[in-house]
């Protein structure tokens, strides 16, 4: 099973499988049925973060420095939690600007600066090459362990010439694979769907392999975790490995490594590639926010058990190989091969994505700008440039992998896996200030970012890279202890005398301090160019709704020239896409802004932003994006949004007030109408006695010979009518009194029962004449209340009178009741009439409302009253501290008016 040939067959078979998956993914993408349109596949592709360094190195790190390996995964967990804020913004920017790599991102942010892009590409190349070398080393080592076990691997690598070195051939095979899949598209689109599908598959394979060897260790080699940890407890020294003391640098080292992993997760070129560039749908970030951390947790679950089991069992001298040597020592056959494939997938996944990301940077940020500037690009030939770009990228892929191999062959063996990984992390972290500060602070400028990167990179090289060379024997290691030229404060591991820190935290602190310090400091004291200001605004406001770059283009680019440019560089198909829906005959007219922007984006997607800008500028001649326009759009839109919000609030308030006003107006109209009717009625009422007074007075004046008895009769009528007139006027005045506060009452202690009886007597005569049957039910002996006797009697009489009017036509009945209720007395007057509808009950107490009933009464042939009784009565009762209301009559079935008055305090 473990023969050289079988292993080779398995390894190449696995690569062929990847090939098939990637080809299938690309085919589906071309058909428009993408297989990577799933948030789960997106989250799995991010797991390219877990390289051979995780697969083999984590166990090694756990065996040496305890829980510190966890930091490499806790940092990204924190970063992913921020995905809905930070990464979403990066994705939004990348989509709007057609970003192809992190170098392109930083270059575009700082005014599409070609220099800055080249700088980032160079740093990435230098910083990441060791990381690629590490993957090659892991593949070769694991292969050697597998083949040579139980002999220790290693030594035989050194002597062999490169053609006998398997890692050289692994690098070559991968180069072919990556060239086939990373650079397939002729329009050099920045996305690689097939590759993403293959990476997601690899993530599953490495997870399954690691979980398998973990479960084997815990449940087959030992009887479960309890057994394993019991054995660890018996072995002196092992339990201490699990504490914070085992972490280099202690608590400070813990924080330093956490920050390092956090930053590197966002800035490593391959992470930027899968997180941002290959993201097909912003909403996928949601699932990735928790699924990717879950993946990290799962793949780390068995690291400590494997490390402990390896240390317990003395399975092999090198902890980096425990995952292989544990099952090998147990004599299992299949599992080591599965582990080898897991490690292979971890390593190849990283190399594929990293190489594609780096080759894109090299071609777009280093080679193309150089060729454009020196004018060495082909001047004619349709789509010629696409061929050039792809050619450059293919060469770059080959070169990068050869560089990685070279590093591995020359330096690689001196480092453990972990060391190389963290050195690369620290290099990538140098991009963080330019990237993150640039995304949130509009003031950060190109000069600051450039100087910051150079400074940070220099400090990184001095504190990590060069000491690494020294330790691998390339340089005299003496300067590590004494400092260069005897300058102690320049010692790489104790810069400015800062001693006692672990080397990564130390390097991170100094390099980031210099980097961010220069970026901020220089930016504060230097100016931005117009394009920089525009780009800064577009980046910092990327999440701004309604931000549309196209609207910012002055529309004066000649269409024909634009078409020719695209044709030349991207080919006919891409040109057709940009000009979709446009008429080819219009080539003399200026292109609309949207088309010019689309053209620049298409070029940026293929060549990077800096080159695209140079090309577009060659056609547009000096027309830049209008900064004032964009700033004013951004400002006005944010102002407008705020204004809109306020307006909405105001309009809601206005709506509410409007509704209230409408109601009030309705009431006023109603009152007005009632008032008119009332005035008409009152005038009529007043005119009737006046007319008769006048008529009789005229008779008396004109007929002096009238007999005495006639004369007396007429005078009687005049007097009676005058009295009626003054009563009427008195009632109208009464109505106004309670409201104007001029109602004068003379409250005294009185007996409501006696008063009620008195009232009944007063109306009995009249009611009997009308045929109304009057019942009295006074249930209390004595009902002491405080009130004005005259006014209260007026109220009682009024209520009885009213009830008489509204009682049933055929057999009118009225009932007066008086009873104690809680701490007061209730006087009720019921009738057997039609009653009053519930919603009308309050309105009968409104002034003038009575009139309607009066009309009703008139129709029914009942005598009319002044119509002001109830409002006046309620005013009086309220003045005496009581209440007056209507309810359904309990005994007679009509309306029931209830007057309630509080009991008078005892004398």
């Amino acid at each position: 099973m473990r023969s050289e040939l079988t292993l080779l067959a398995i390894a190449f078979g696995y690569l062929a499988l990847l090939f098939v998956i990637a080809a299938w993914g690309d085919r589906r993408a071309e058909q428009g049925r993408s297989i990577i349109g799933s948030p789960t596949i997106y989250a799995l592709s991010i797991a390219v973060y877990c390289t051979a360094w995780t697969f083999y190195g984590s166990v090694g790190r756990a065996a040496e420095t305890g829980p510190s390996f966890l930091l490499i995964y806790l940092g990204p967990t924190l970063a992913m939690l921020m995905a809905p804020f930070v990464i979403r913004k990066m994705v939004r920017i990348a989509r709007a600007q057609r970003i192809t790599s992190i170098a392109d991102f930083i270059s575009a942010r700082y005014g599409k600066s070609a220099g800055l892009g080249a700088l980032v590409a160079l740093i990435a190349l230098i910083g990441i090459t060791p990381y690629i070398a590490l993957q090659l080393k892991a593949i070769t080592l694991s292969h050697a362990v597998l083949v040579d076990y139980p002999l220790t691997a290693g030594d035989r690598l050194d002597a062999a010439p490169f053609w006998a070195d398997k890692s050289f051939w692994v690098a070559m095979v991968l180069a072919v694979f990556i060239i086939l899949f990373g650079t397939r598209h002729l329009d050099a689109s920045e996305r690689h769907e097939g590759m993403v599908a293959a990476i997601a598959f690899e993530s599953l394979v490495k997870l399954a392999a690691f979980l398998a060897v973990g479960a084997f260790t815990v449940f087959v080699l030992y009887q479960g975790p309890g057994d394993l940890f019991a054995r660890v407890g018996e072995t002196p020294g092992l339990a201490e490995l699990l504490s914070l003391d085992a972490v280099p640098g202690g608590a400070l080292g813990w924080i330093g490594t956490l920050v390092l992993a956090f930053l590197a997760f966002l800035t490593l070129p391959r992470q930027f590639q899968v997180l941002v560039v290959e993201n097909v749908d912003e909403r996928h970030l949601r699932r990735a926010t928790w699924l990717f951390p879950l993946y990290l947790l799962a793949i780390n679950l068995f690291v400590i058990p494997i490390a402990l089991a390896g240390l317990l069992g003395e399975a092999g001298s090198d902890p980096d190989s425990f995952v292989l040597t544990l099952p090998l020592a147990a004599g299992v056959e299949g599992l080591p091969v599965l582990v080898f494939i897991g490690g292979l997938s971890a390593a190849t996944g990283m190399m594929i994505v990293e190489t594609i990301a780096l080759s894109t940077m090299v071609s777009n940020q280093l080679v193309m700008p150089l060729l454009l500037r020196t004018g060495r690009l082909p001047r004619r030939g349709q789509g010629a440039l696409a061929g050039w770009v792809l050619g450059i990228r293919r060469l770059a892929i080959l070169a990068i992998l050869l560089l990685g191999y070279g590093y591995h062959a020359l330096v690689g063996d001196a480092y453990s896996l972990v060391t190389i990984g963290l050195v690369s992390f620290a290099a990538a972290a140098q991009f963080a200030p330019a990237l993150l500060i640039g995304m949130y602070w509009r003031g950060a400028n190109r000069l600051g970012a450039g100087l910051g990167l150079v400074g940070g990179f220099a400090v990184w090289a001095w504190t990590l890279l060069i000491p690494g060379f020294a330790q691998s024997g390339w340089l005299d290691a003496g300067f590590l202890v004494r400092g260069p030229f005897g300058l102690e404060w320049l010692r790489p591991y104790a810069l400015f005398g800062l001693e006692g820190w672990d080397i990564y935290t130390h390097a991170l602190l100094w390099s980031l301090a210099v980097n961010a310090g220069l970026l901020v400091g220089v930016s504060l004291f230097s100016r931005q160019s117009a394009l920089e200001q525009t780009q800064a605004a577009l980046f910092t406001q990327a999440l701004h709704p309604r931000l549309d770059q196209a609207s910012l283009w002055p529309g004066q680019t000649p269409r024909g020239e634009l078409r020719a440019l695209l044709d030349r560089y991207l080919g006919a198909a891409a040109t057709a896409r940009v000009f979709a829906g446009e008429d080819a005959q219009d080539d003399d007219r200026p292109a609309p802004g949207a088309i010019a922007a689309r053209a620049e984006q298409a070029l940026a997607g293929a060549l990077g932003n800096a080159s695209a800008r140079v090309l577009i500028d060659s056609v547009v001649r000096g027309e830049a994006l209008d900064l004032d326009a964009i700033l004013s759009i951004l400002d006005t839109t944010s102002e407008t949004l705020e204004m809109n919000r306020r307006l909405e609030q105001k309009s809601r308030e206005l709506e509410r007030i409007g509704a209230e006003l409408r109601d009030a107006n309705e009431r006023l109209r109603e009152l007005d109408r009632l008032k008119d009717e009332f005035v008409a009625m009152v005038s009529h009422e007043l005119r009737t006695p006046l007319t008769s007074i006048r008529a009789f007075a005229e008779i008396l004046r004109d007929n002096r010979e009238l007999p005495l008895d006639k004369r007396e009769h007429f005078l009687d009528v005049v007097v009676r009518e005058s009295q009626r007139l003054s009563r009427l006027i008195e009632e109208i005045l009464d109505l106004a009194r309670p409201e104007s506060g001029r109602l004068t009452l003379h409250p005294e202690r009185l007996d409501l029962a006696a008063l009620a009886r008195h009232g009944v007597e007063a109306v009995q005569q009249v009611q009997e004449e009308r045929g109304v049957a009057l019942e009295v039910a006074i249930e209390v002996e004595d009902a002491p209340v405080i009130g004005d006797p005259d006014r209260l009697e007026q109220v009682v009489i009024n209520l009885l009178d009213n009830a008489g009017k509204f009682a049933d036509d055929a057999a009118p009945r009225v009932r007066l009741g008086l009873a104690r209720h809680k701490r007061g007395f209730r006087l009720t007057v019921e009738d057997n009439g039609p009653g009053i509808a519930e919603d009308e009950r309050e309105r009968v107490f409104e002034k003038f409302h009575q009139i309607q009933h009066q009309d009703d009464g008139a129709i029914r042939g009942r005598p009319r009253g002044s119509g002001l009784g109830l409002p006046i009565s309620r005013g009086i009762v309220a003045h005496l501290g009581g209440r007056l209301w209507v309810e359904a009559a309990p005994h007679l079935g009509g309306a029931c008016l209830v007057m309630e008055l509080p009991e008078a305090p005892a004398e």
Binding site: G66, M82, P84, S243, T289, L297
Partner: protein, 61 residues
């Protein structure tokens, strides 16, 4: 895409996760006698569960 309330909760979760993963609390957990990796794994799983609940729950919002 995300409601303001959910954003606030997510920010709170980030703060919580940072606190759980860094020394003051880490040292407390270690002093309390728990094996450090065990504590980290439990805290980690808790944070992931909360993040899943926050981002996946209530898609209809």
């Amino acid at each position: 895409m995300i409601s303001p309330r959910r954003k606030e909760r997510l920010v709170a979760l980030i703060v919580l996760a940072t606190a759980l993963f860094t020394p003051p609390l880490l040292l407390v957990a270690e002093r309390a006698g728990a094996a450090l990796p065990l504590y980290v794994f439990l805290a980690w799983a808790g944070v992931i569960a909360l993040a899943a609940w926050l981002t996946e729950g209530g898609r209809g919002e």
